[in-house]
């Protein structure tokens, strides 16, 4: 660990530290840390020269992309590297016998790439090409940006008009977590801290149900994605509105996923399903900030006894969400994140991950609903985008993440799982259950 400070560009904010603690937890399992992906499937070969130029322009505008994550004393910082690394990589095959497999394997290898935290590029772009299939993958490490920031980076790349691109990340903003924290006096922060701790203690009275086979050691991340038809997506959107209303959105997916997991093994040990989800501090449709993390965690938890009754489950999740906002628990987590950023990564990870009562994992699964992906273009460097999906590494347990997004009026469900704690066969069975749940009247 160096003590030099000359090369420091910026310190990680409390929300970055929160994702860094998860990175450490995943690395402790001999896995690659909290790597994430955003993939576009394209109808034809895009203009790779233009992509490279746009990425170059992006790196000129956001040179932090070349920074290295370094520990200085107790804290972590983005620091200058001696040499810039390439940001854009191309992967091609002429073998047309199994193109889908080539694309899947390449994406999987990139997300499973093991590299030291200090040397791994914070962000990379990959174009994967075969005779009839093209995939553009953006891979980033979570302390560098959150999913919304990744969405903005992609929008930046997709924006053809140079003047419009200048509007991204303008004006330069302080990390939103710090801005929000600055609004409170010290005693208000203490009260919020206590409130958030009580909320977590309350969650921890129930032991979370974990479906992963924890007798096995994690080996690799695998993923399966399913894009539903426009008709299915419309039906799900209608049922979503019907069951959880205008203010529930993502809770419909969470409830359906809980029930689908429960169907796999209703006798699985534990008392409740619990999942963290992100509360984003950015205003919707804002084009800044792009980089760093600007989120706080919230939890959805449902006792096992509620699972058989769909209506009661959705009502419970909705009420829980209402109480969370009413009691301002979303903001109450900010002082907790700030305080935790002073802990060692190991201590931070333990507090973040484990139940205070049982010491076992609090999360039954990870969840993220990106919602509608609104790019400024339905095409990407002269090629139509046919599908978008997200990927993320996960700690084991829970060893499973359920990510959803909608693009071109179609819902894509991305199941990310750690093998062999989950198998492909289990995920296929799980998806059947999820689909059935999502489409149930």
């Amino acid at each position: 660990m160096s003590t030099a400070t000359d090369d420091i560009i910026q310190i990680l904010n409390p929300s970055d530290c929160f994702t860094l603690a998860m990175d450490e937890e995943i690395r402790q399992e001999n896995m690659p840390g909290s790597q994430c992906g955003f993939a576009l499937e394209l109808a034809s070969a895009p203009d790779s020269t233009a992509i490279e130029q746009r990425i170059h322009e992006f790196s000129q505008r956001f040179p932090l992309v070349f920074a290295s994550l370094q520990q200085r004393g107790k804290r972590f910082f983005w620091c200058q590297r001696e040499h810039k690394h390439p940001l854009f990589h191309q992967h091609k095959t002429t073998d047309s016998s199994n193109e889908a497999e080539f694309h899947h394997q390449t994406v999987q290898q990139l997300l499973n790439h093991l590299q030291a935290r200090e040397t791994i590029p914070a962000l990379e772009f990959h174009l994967i090409q075969s005779a009839n299939k093209n995939t553009f993958l953006m891979r980033w490490i979570h302390p560098f940006c959150d999913a919304k920031g990744a969405d903005l980076i992609l929008r930046y790349l997709c924006t053809d008009d140079a003047e419009q691109r200048k509007q991204f990340d303008f004006p330069k903003l302080e990390p939103l977590v710090n801005q929000q924290l600055a609004k409170y006096r010290w005693w208000q922060k203490v009260l919020m801290f206590i409130k958030a701790k009580r909320y977590i203690s309350q969650l921890d009275t129930l032991q979370s149900i974990i479906h992963a086979d924890t007798s096995k050691a994690p080996k690799q991340l695998n993923f399966k994605t399913f894009t539903l038809s426009i008709g299915q997506t419309q039906a799900i959107n209608k049922l979503n509105r019907q069951h959880v209303g205008l203010t529930g959105g993502s809770l419909y997916y969470i409830g359906c996923f809980m029930r689908a997991l429960n169907k796999m093994n209703p006798d699985q040990a534990g008392e409740a399903y619990c999942t963290p989800y992100a509360f984003n501090l950015r205003r919707n449709k804002a084009l800044s900030p792009l980089l760093s993390n600007h989120v706080a965690p919230l939890f959805a938890q449902a006792p096992k006894s509620l699972l058989p009754d769909r209506a009661a489950l959705f009502q419970h999740l909705k009420q829980q969400n209402t109480n969370t906002i009413r009691e301002k628990l979303d903001y109450a987590f900010l002082p907790i994140m700030w305080a935790a950023s002073w802990l060692s990564l190991a201590q931070h990870g333990e507090k973040l991950r484990n139940s205070m009562r049982t010491g076992t994992d609090r999360s039954s699964f990870w969840f993220s609903d990106i919602g509608n992906v609104n790019l400024s273009n339905a095409s990407f460097f002269n090629s139509d985008i046919t599908k978008i999906y997200h990927l993320c590494q996960i700690s084991s347990p829970p060893a499973i993440a359920f990510l959803s997004c909608q693009f071109n009026q179609q819902l894509t469900l991305s199941y990310n799982f750690i093998e062999p704690l989950f198998t492909e066969e289990q995920i296929e069975a799980l998806h059947k259950n999820v689909l059935e749940e999502l489409l149930t009247e």
Binding site: G249, N284, R326
Partner: protein
């Protein structure tokens, strides 16, 4: 009332490049007001105007513009 709603929505919930050009009839849902934003907006209204907005009335017709929001609030103000 609408000015207060404007300040809260544009400062806290959605980004609009030119708020002055956003009319009281323009669609807030189109502009980016999502489920989490609606929740926060309702909590803000309940606190500021000391009223309770029933869950059964949380409907696009009541939240999709400043004019609709004002009408909804007025119905519950004594």
């Amino acid at each position: 009332m609408k000015q207060q709603l404007r300040e809260f929505i544009f400062n806290e919930l959605i980004f609009v490049a030119e708020p002055d050009k956003f009319s009281d009839d323009d669609d807030l849902l189109e502009a980016g007001l999502d489920s989490m934003g609606i929740m926060r907006l309702i909590m803000h209204i309940e606190e500021q105007f000391n009223i309770t907005l029933p869950d059964s009335e949380i409907d696009p017709d009541n939240v999709n513009s400043f004019n609709a929001l004002e009408q909804w609030i007025l119905q519950h103000k004594t």
